[in-house]
């Protein structure tokens, strides 16, 4: 487990700095240094007056397996929702007024959130899960268009361990 700080809740009281035995909470970027945080410690979590720090696991259990019936139905929804997003892309490209542009952009954002949510419940809840790894590996194993950020995928696989 490592400590993470929700910057939105942090009120900069700095009690976490005072209690941390290793100085892990003292960083410039507002985050807690995962390399210095001790697995068994939770001093800053309890000391923070704003409830801004929690300990999150480094390893997660696998997502509940998805059954074929649900997966297939979710898949059909995903295809349809993404086809709608492509329509929004086309409307965005053609937009002439500010309202047309904003409406297309709002629809695109909204459709993407819905599509992501379908994917999340189709086995892609966690990047640490098998489906996410298989997704990244399949990108490396198949031919990709020019400009494909291969190093990004390789780094992700390395970071996921």
């Amino acid at each position: 487990m490592i400590a993470v700080r929700n910057i939105r809740l942090c009120t900069k009281d700095c009690l976490c700095l005072f209690v941390c035995p290793t100085g892990a909470t003292n960083t410039d970027n507002g985050q807690i240094d995962p390399d210095r945080c001790l697995a068994a410690c939770r001093a800053c979590v309890d000391a923070c007056p704003s409830g801004a720090i929690s300990k999150v696991p480094l390893n997660y259990p696998p997502q509940q397996p998805k059954l074929p019936g649900t997966l297939q139905a979710m898949n059909q929804l995903l295809d349809s929702r993404l086809a709608q997003e492509r329509a929004a892309d086309a409307m965005l490209a053609q937009a002439q007024t500010a309202i047309q542009r904003q409406f297309a952009q709002a629809m695109k954002m909204s459709l993407r959130v819905v599509a992501e949510d379908v994917l999340r419940e189709s086995g892609y809840m966690l990047p640490q899960g098998q489906p996410a790894r298989a997704f990244l590996n399949s990108l490396l194993d198949s031919p990709q268009p020019a400009g494909f950020p291969r190093e990004a995928v390789e780094r992700l696989l390395a970071l996921l361990g």
Binding site: K66, M107, L111, V114
Partner: protein, 224 residues
């Protein structure tokens, strides 16, 4: 006097109480509420309301089987799917406070979004959405219920409600054009995708109940 419930956000229209703040006096029967009245909480139109304890005047169509086969694999569809898979994983690592990984997944998502080709127009989107609401959502609900998949049911619940709002907005836009949204801004809930049209995002999302700060405002000068 009866009560009609908004199927998107759960707001009650009580005929006895009316909606005086929006010009509907107490005692106004449902059929006398003007067709352009919308839910004061989430903006859904009258067709999204159901009579409490029964269906509204328009019975929902019987769920048709989801269209068989793949939805015409056009060029660029695969790239969209890869993009959405990557952007979803970007959100997942963000929740785990791993900013570095989030940037990498976002880079991947943007790359594939650029590879997908735009296709269709608002009519295409409205037609597909209509099929979703009539067929694909009911079919997916049935499958998820049969599998006891609570996560999928949660996502379907949000997605269907958001779909109703999207369908409403497309309908309004089709009818009135830009005038439909004159003087308003668009706010999109980053958790469920709900779109609010107005001056200020609601205090909590009518669909998924996250607080206001999770709404993204689509800016005036926004560009592609």
């Amino acid at each position: 006097m009866s009560v009609y419930i908004c199927t998107v956000c759960g707001y009650d229209y009580d005929e006895a109480a009316g909606d005086p703040r929006h010009g509907i006096p107490p005692g106004t029967r449902w059929e006398d509420v003007p067709a352009d009245w919308v839910c004061p909480v989430c903006g859904a139109d009258k067709s999204m309301f159901e009579n409490q304890g029964g269906k509204a005047e328009t019975p929902a169509p019987a769920p048709m089987a989801a269209p068989a086969g793949q939805a015409a694999p056009q060029q660029g569809a695969d790239a969209k799917r890869l993009s959405a898979t990557a952007s979803n994983l970007a959100r997942a690592v963000q929740k785990q406070h791993r900013a570095g990984m989030a940037d990498l997944f976002t880079q991947l998502a943007d790359f594939f979004d650029g590879q997908s080709s735009p296709a269709g127009d608002w009519q295409t989107a409205a037609d597909l959405l209509k099929e979703d609401l009539a067929g694909r959502y009911p079919a997916a609900f049935a499958a998820a219920r049969a599998d006891g998949d609570r996560g999928a049911l949660r996502a379907l619940n949000w997605g269907e409600k958001v779909g109703k709002i999207q369908a409403n907005l497309l309908k309004r836009y089709n009818k009135e054009g830009d005038a439909a949204f004159e003087g308003s801004a668009f706010f999109v809930c980053e958790a469920c995708g709900f779109i609010f049209v107005g001056e200020q995002a609601p205090e909590i999302c009518p669909v998924c109940k996250v607080p206001r700060f999770k709404f993204a405002r689509v800016g005036r000068g926004a560009s592609a």
